[in-house]
């Protein structure tokens, strides 16, 4: 311990956002990103919002290099919106500094508490994937410190292989120290949002495709405990940035922030209660659609975006639309001490509704899923070898972790996904088997070649790379 401390390291439990699994790591949070010269294994980590074991150390006590204190802006081009920053800068900070000047992240996941380095490593996607693709598409340049300690610049036209292996490469090709990305211009910090209840899966899939033709942001929330004819019923939400003329004067109010102070007890997630919650959420929207007084109440609070219906709503703050859960600190504690898995997969459009229905049926049958799940249609896949999205439908749902029972469900779901030609999202995975993963990712061998070239010893490793890629712990 003394040695760790004198080196500025602390031995602490490290987990993903799902809080399963947990491993102790020697955590460093330097202000200047630099690999230790001794060549020891290292796991780069950002704000820890990946759910599974992607940012969990490969072995007890191994080095975790958190990038969050390396968060300086290196340059910003006010004309083009090109931002160069250190890898630890968060989207929250980008929004705070640049949104008032009319710039917005080109792609954002469902939380703004992620680092730019993490966004690159996971090649994150957002509600605009059908139109804009994933994060890596907006990255012009990366600076990496690779395994032998040398510093390499790469981009779409320079060291392209390394670039394509790093985007979506889960931090396993090198330590990302600097990123140049293109922000998108927006006229306001407000969103025009419409939502509508849809009675079942077919309507949801059709609705997403239709909405995607005109709307930059689309997503569906569905009740993953509803059975039979109600299978896949949910709320379809579409949004766009409000123009200057549509937006209210001034910036949106700061979101109210709540916190979950304790781990929730497990009975809170009992199937009966969850089913009740989900049904209530759906019926509230279905009924709310016709309620004349709906705009008079809770105008800017959490979830308010979902109460707007076609064309009738006033613009809502961007944070309510993109980051509803960010309003609740440590919401992951709602799943109790044992944590949860988030399961996200994508199946190609060719597999169609039957594959999605089969997945939903399995989830419903298992009866262990909780809260609401997300469904979204994705656009064409990226050139990056391990990038997750592909043209088709993606589902994401939370599964409270209950040991082998939950893991078995994931393996069953994976079997359906493999049969449909789909794959799972590494930023959310904690239990997929190596052989299943290999079958999901046709370009894995190509990626391995590039990784081996830059990091033959597999210095960059994680619990996930041990599990899925056979790295030594």
């Amino acid at each position: 311990m003394g040695e760790l401390r004198s080196a500025g390291l602390s031995l602490e439990p490290v987990a993903g956002w799902g809080r399963h699994p947990v491993e102790r790591g020697a955590v460093a949070r330097p202000e200047r990103l630099l690999l230790p010269p001794d060549g020891r294994p290292v796991l780069p980590r950002g704000l820890g919002r990946s759910y599974g074991d992607a940012a969990v150390p490969a072995a007890p006590g191994s080095l975790v290099l958190e990038t969050v204190r390396a968060d300086r802006v290196v340059a910003f081009d006010h004309e083009r919106g090109t931002l160069t920053c250190e890898a630890g800068l968060s989207l929250a900070e980008i929004l705070r500094v640049f949104l008032p000047r009319g710039w917005f992240p080109p792609v954002t996941p469902g939380t703004k508490f992620v680092t730019v380095g993490g966004c690159v490593a996971c090649d994150v996607h957002g509600k605009n994937h059908h139109r804009d693709g994933s994060f890596g598409r907006f990255v012009d340049r990366l600076v990496l410190q690779v395994a032998d300690g040398s510093v390499v610049e790469c981009g779409p036209a320079r060291e392209r292989e390394l670039f394509l292996a790093t985007v979506g490469g889960m931090g396993l090709t090198g330590l990302i120290t600097e990123v140049t990305l293109r922000l998108q211009p927006v006229e306001s910090a407000w969103m025009v949002v419409e939502s509508e209840p849809v009675p079942g899966l077919g309507a949801m899939l059709d609705g997403l495709r239709d909405a995607g033709k005109d709307w930059p942001y689309t997503v569906g929330w569905f009740d993953c405990l509803a059975r039979g004819a109600a299978l896949g019923r949910g709320i379809l939400i579409r949004g766009r940035h409000a123009s200057r003329a549509e937006a209210p004067a001034g910036p949106p109010p700061e979101p109210r922030r709540l916190a979950v102070p304790l781990d929730a007890p497990e009975w809170l997630l009992s199937p009966v209660l969850m089913r009740g919650f989900n049904a209530a959420y759906y019926w509230k929207h279905a009924w709310w659609k016709h309620a004349w007084w709906k705009h008079a109440w809770w105008k800017h609070g959490w979830g308010s975006h979902a109460r707007r219906t076609r064309g009738a709503g006033r613009p809502v703050p961007y944070h309510g639309f993109f980051y509803p859960l960010d309003a609740i600190d440590s919401w992951n504690r709602l799943y109790g001490r044992r944590g949860f898995l988030q399961y996200q997969c994508v199946v190609p459009r060719a597999a169609g509704a039957p594959a999605v229905a089969e997945l939903l049926e399995r989830v419903v049958e298992a009866g262990t899923a909780s809260f609401l799940a997300v469904i979204k249609d994705c656009g064409p896949e990226s050139d990056a070898y391990l990038s997750f999205p592909l043209e088709g439908t993606t589902l994401a749902l939370d599964l409270p972790y209950r040991g082998p029972r939950t893991e078995a469900l994931v393996h069953e779901l994976n079997a359906t996904v493999i049969a449909a030609g789909g794959r799972v999202y590494l930023a959310k995975d904690a239990v997929t088997r190596a052989e299943d993963f290999t079958r999901m990712v046709p370009r894995l061998a190509e990626w391995r070649k590039v990784r081996d070239r830059w990091d033959p010893e597999h210095r960059f490793r994680s619990a996930q790379s041990v599990r899925l890629l056979g790295d030594a712990p």
Binding site: A28, R29, R69, V73, V74, V97
Partner: protein, 245 residues
């Protein structure tokens, strides 16, 4: 505000300089490492500092260079009105006990050099009608503890100096702010066990900036530490001998 800042490249100084930049203050960064100063200056400029953000060399281990650094800040800012010193030295009690040269360096930087710098700056500000000196001491200077009295002594000396500076220059328009951070999660304290009431640099910076604006003579950050230290200061020495912290 036209502020010369020593220590803006790291930790609490970085957070404080960012707040000042975002509200459009003019800044001149003083420090040892030219590359780090440049990187910090670019960051602050992008965040809104009234540009350009100047940099100049100042090494707390070389008091002979202080006048030149303050001259540079004066030139860059057309006479600075605020000096902020967040830089300091830190080492564990063990390391300081083991290595007398290390101890000497820490005492020199935290007390001697900081006092010499602030004294010079105060005189400069007084001559042109006033200004603000803000220096970071520590709650460790409020009461000696066996587990960190060497670092604590350097900060106790600094706190006493800053109190005197306040009294001596109050009539000449110079306000003196003595910041006493409790445990703050920065790279400086990395690896140390985190006590209750530990603060984040951003929150500390907000408290400090308000104190600088108001000229509050002594500010604890996070504010809770005022009451923690009050209680600790009231403990009789016999009790301090028995409790091992």
């Amino acid at each position: 505000m036209k502020a010369a800042v020593v220590g803006a490249t790291r930790g609490m100084g970085r957070a404080l300089a960012r707040l000042m930049a975002e509200r459009g203050d003019s800044l001149c960064l003083l420090g040892r490492d030219a590359a780090e100063l440049e990187a910090a200056a670019r960051d602050l400029l992008t965040r809104g500092a009234r540009g350009p953000v100047a940099t100049a060399r100042l090494d707390l281990a070389e008091p002979a260079g202080f006048a030149a650094a303050l001259d540079a800040a004066d030139r860059a800012l057309a006479d600075f009105d605020t000096l902020v010193v967040t830089a300091g030295d830190f080492a564990s009690q063990e390391a300081l006990e083991r290595d007398p040269a290390r101890l000497e360096r820490l005492l020199d930087v935290n007390f001697t050099a900081t006092a010499v710098l602030c004294q010079q700056a105060a005189e400069r500000l007084a001559k042109r009608g006033g200004g603000t000196i803000c220096a970071f001491s520590s709650v460790a200077g409020d009461r000696a503890r066996r587990s960190n009295y060497l670092y604590g002594a350097s900060k106790a000396g600094l706190s006493a100096f800053l109190e005197g500076l306040h009294l001596a220059y109050a009539d000449r328009g110079v306000r003196v702010v003595c910041v006493r951070p409790g445990f703050v999660k920065t790279a400086m304290t990395a690896g140390l066990p985190v006590p209750p009431f530990a603060g984040e640099p951003d929150a500390v910076a907000r408290v400090v900036l308000r104190a600088v604006d108001r000229g509050t003579p002594v500010v604890y950050a996070p504010p809770m530490w005022r009451w923690v230290m009050l209680a600790i200061r009231l403990l009789p020495r016999a009790v301090m001998r028995r409790v091992r912290f």
